[in-house]
Symmetry: C2
């Protein structure tokens, strides 16, 4: 391996080591990538006038970088481009996998996989990287879609801000399995177990103005 | 109506009026409540050492108040209790309803309903309010469950922090409907429409140590 090849794990930092449930934390690069790649909606946090702001937005992962896009008029994207220093952000992606029902209220929990990324978001100005990022954001939600849509024209590109966040200070957190009941609670008469939670898709709904004869594409049916 | 009855809408503030897509913003109290009541997982943002942190966590709504709980050792909950001033937070709840595929990459979007709450989280110390909050957090995900579980004992209560956030500075944002394609794109050969997204539940998985004869409760089957 070369000196610059990424290791198999992200290096923990003070803010990526949790104060509790440490056994749920992971810095494994493949696990982080898998969690990020399964999603496309993140919650983007930043600080405005000293107070936290959390907004839902779409993202894509390309290698060791996340991309987020938006209107050039949106406040966080404007802030990310306003200075060379960029904008400190926290991007969190969460998959809810199950509701964990224990005999005791205290041991109720959820099964989940989450990734938290800390870093500095910077505006992407290179046209080639912007094009890659915009395609990736479309393909993150619907793989294959970017090749089956009209690409942005000059006017649309001018209205779109793209920001990048490098995957450097990253952790995953995972809970799996059943409830962890206290031994003395096992004889209680309450049902105990896990209710699995999934994200599913309904049948595609064609646009009202879709021309007859344009079938649902295979990449969409595959979801 | 008395002077203290809440109005039918939250008062907009500079930070709850978006800079763009204003037509998607709403301050309607019933809409905000409906969005909050359909969920139970939020993304909680706060500021630590000047940088944003966003963590997924469970919540409940009781009237005009959100509750979040956690270990007394968790950093944000400790911070909320560390001073009378409380902890400035932003709580965001997002429901993803559909992927919107337009003929142009630029007009790709998502249908969603989100609520963003800005405010100050404060530790709840009153035992009666703590009990209400802890029941509500269990019932928010599985209505009816808190009555069918052992309530927290003194040791468990001592290990649990509960924080409250009043619903005062609140906004909802909603996108519905199909793609908004440019007129000149309507003749392009790309499929256009919406792929509905839903949160669904799989069959309940009983704990390995569940006694025979304890059936899946009705409130769980109802989900």
């Amino acid at each position: 391996m070369s000196d610059t090849a990424p290791g198999s794990a992200y290096a923990p930092t003070p803010r990526t080591v949790p104060t509790r449930s440490r056994e749920r934390a992971s810095y494994d690069r493949a696990l982080v990538h898998a969690i990020l790649d399964e999603g496309y909606l993140c919650h983007l946090g930043f600080v405005r006038d000293g107070a936290p702001v959390v907004l839902p937005t779409l993202y894509a992962r390309v290698g060791e970088r996340l991309y987020v896009h938006g209107s050039t008029g949106s406040r966080p994207l404007r802030a990310a481009g306003a200075s060379d220093a960029g904008l400190p952000v926290c991007v969190t992606v969460t998959h809810l996998d199950g509701l964990v029902l224990a005999r005791s209220a205290f041991h109720h929990s959820v099964n989940y996989r989450s990734v938290v990324v800390h870093g500095t978001a910077r505006q992407v100005t290179d046209p080639a990287e912007r094009a890659i990022a915009l395609d990736a954001i479309v393909d993150q939600a619907v793989p294959g879609r970017s090749a089956d849509a009209r690409r942005a024209n000059a006017r649309e590109l001018a209205a779109t801000a793209v920001v990048a966040l490098d995957l450097e200070e990253v952790s995953a957190k995972v809970r799996t399995g059943g409830p962890n009941d206290e031994p003395e609670d096992l004889s209680l008469p309450h049902w105990s177990g896990v209710l699995p939670v999934r994200r599913t898709y309904g049948p595609p709904v064609p646009a009202g103005d879709l021309a007859p004869g344009i079938a649902v594409p295979d990449y969409l049916a595959a979801l």
